[in-house]
């Protein structure tokens, strides 16, 4: 699992809207947020493992963007420009200043939308089993994004960045405290990932 042109194209194609928000300097700026309807999620899940993996990749890529935007803003523009240059084939037509992020928290997506939106127990078991088996790969995906940025565009102390996730004020509601929840399992796997 790694960043590819195909993934970025699909990510940018997620339904999104723009709204004004405040950045860390309290300036009004345009923010692009993506969302998925029940039907959208179901259509990804109906694709089987690849659909579930894409949804995980999307929410993890969103996590990467949020981490950089809020806590490593000196690298934000460099990361956005790099991703646009390397992976977004239509970048010559549209200069992209903001990469869309998910409209809610990480836990809303993986604990609520992904698992309960369908109300189909059999499918939910498949989703949770597949997710748990691949949890290490999902964490590796986040590391791989930071490693790529480190190699080709800007500097991160990756271990430090990941270790700090639990302390981020902005992220205190990002993951559930329920140890059985998928978001909590992801966070703990990430913090212990070698």
């Amino acid at each position: 699992m790694k960043l590819t042109n195909c993934f970025i194209s699909k990510y940018y194609d997620l339904p999104s809207y723009e709204r004004y928000s405040f950045n860390s300097m309290q300036y009004n700026f345009l923010k692009k947020e993506w969302y998925l309807s029940k039907n959208d999620i179901e259509s990804y899940i109906n694709k089987g493992s690849s659909g579930i993996d894409f949804l995980w990749q999307a929410i993890i890529f969103n996590l990467f963007i949020k981490i950089v935007h809020y806590y490593h803003k000196n690298n934000y523009k460099y990361c956005v420009d790099f991703i646009t240059w390397r992976f977004y084939e239509s970048c010559q037509d549209i200069p992209i200043q903001y990469i869309p992020i998910f409209k809610g928290k990480f836990k809303n997506f993986v604990d609520e939308y992904l698992l309960t939106v369908l109300n189909k127990n059999k499918k939910n078991k498949f989703i949770s089993d597949h997710s748990l088996i691949n949890m290490n790969s999902y964490c590796a995906f986040l590391f791989s994004i930071f490693e790529l940025m480190n190699k080709d565009c800007c500097e991160f102390n990756i271990e430090e960045v990941i270790a700090e996730i639990k302390d981020y004020e902005e992220f205190k509601d990002e993951f559930s405290d329920n140890p059985k929840s998928m978001s909590c399992i992801f966070k703990n796997t990430l913090l212990n990932y070698k």
Partner: protein
């Protein structure tokens, strides 16, 4: 000695705009004047609203700049203006996480010309940066004042040159940035960051051989470089040959190689080079 705007290289432009600074503005312009005297300057002709140089024209991203790390960024664009939406450019800066610490904004009565000077804090550095914008001005007007003010500009950042790649046909006295190496003595240019690499320059020379004499004559209007006069004495064929030799022998390095991003422009990233002017 008490600071006055006469000490700024842009003093004649400010006079033309009948500008009378407030005390706060005078203090900010005084700071700018000190910064220009002590720190490196970068000039971006035909910049439009592009501010990528604030992020990429530094020696951390472009290691080939060596010790050169500009603090003052001068932009000009004849066609760009902020007048349709007040503070539009401030918002543009804010959206790039750039904090405006102070600004001076001067307009002419018709609002066709404006000069903005910003003191900024960007997200990439703890140091203050300065951005001076000349909107509604030809690049050549700014060049003349820089040269007359004996201001050294070691870095030219030029993407999508207004004359050879943009809409610069409006000015009969235009100087395209590919001829800026002939201004290197006047301006103290050491590096040029541009997408107009040697392949592109070959193409421009082939396509515009009838315009080179005009462009060099225009260079001569702002430059005191005597070697240009000698060039103009050559026949058209000799001139084309000489220009090809001079412009193509400039050492250049592609910036974004092996997948590594050193300087971004959404249109030209793959073509961008740094030229070292001796």
């Amino acid at each position: 000695m008490k600071f006055t705007t006469d000490q700024l290289f842009l003093s004649s432009m400010l006079k033309e705009l009948e500008y009378k600074p407030t005390n706060n503005e005078l203090s900010l312009l005084n700071e700018l004047s000190d910064e220009m005297a002590n720190m490196a300057i970068s000039y971006y002709p035909s910049s439009g609203a592009d501010i990528n140089d604030l992020f990429y024209a530094n020696n951390k991203k472009v290691e080939l700049l060596g010790e050169l790390n500009p603090s003052v960024f001068i932009h000009s664009d004849y066609f760009y203006s902020d007048h349709n939406s007040l503070n539009n450019f401030d918002r543009h800066l804010h959206s790039h996480q750039i904090d405006v610490k102070g600004s001076v904004k001067v307009y002419d009565k018709s609002k066709l010309k404006s000069i903005y000077a910003y003191k900024l804090k960007t997200s990439i550095s703890d140091d203050f940066k300065w951005l001076v914008l000349f909107w509604g001005y030809y690049n050549e007007e700014v060049l003349i004042d820089l040269i007359n003010g004996k201001i050294k500009v070691p870095l030219i950042y030029s993407v999508c040159d207004g004359i050879t790649s943009g809409m610069g046909g409006c000015n009969t006295l235009s100087i395209p940035t590919i001829t800026y190496p002939f201004l290197s003595v006047d301006l103290g240019i050491k590096y040029i960051i541009t997408e107009q690499n040697s392949e592109h320059i070959k193409y421009i020379i082939e396509q515009n051989n009838d315009q080179f004499r005009t462009w060099l004559n225009n260079v001569l209007l702002v430059s005191k470089n005597p070697s240009i006069k000698n060039l103009l004495e050559l026949s058209n064929k000799e001139l084309e040959k000489e220009l090809t030799i001079r412009l193509l022998q400039i050492e250049e390095h592609f910036l974004n190689t092996n997948g590594r991003l050193r300087c971004f422009d959404y249109r030209f990233t793959d073509h961008m080079v740094i030229k070292k002017i001796y």
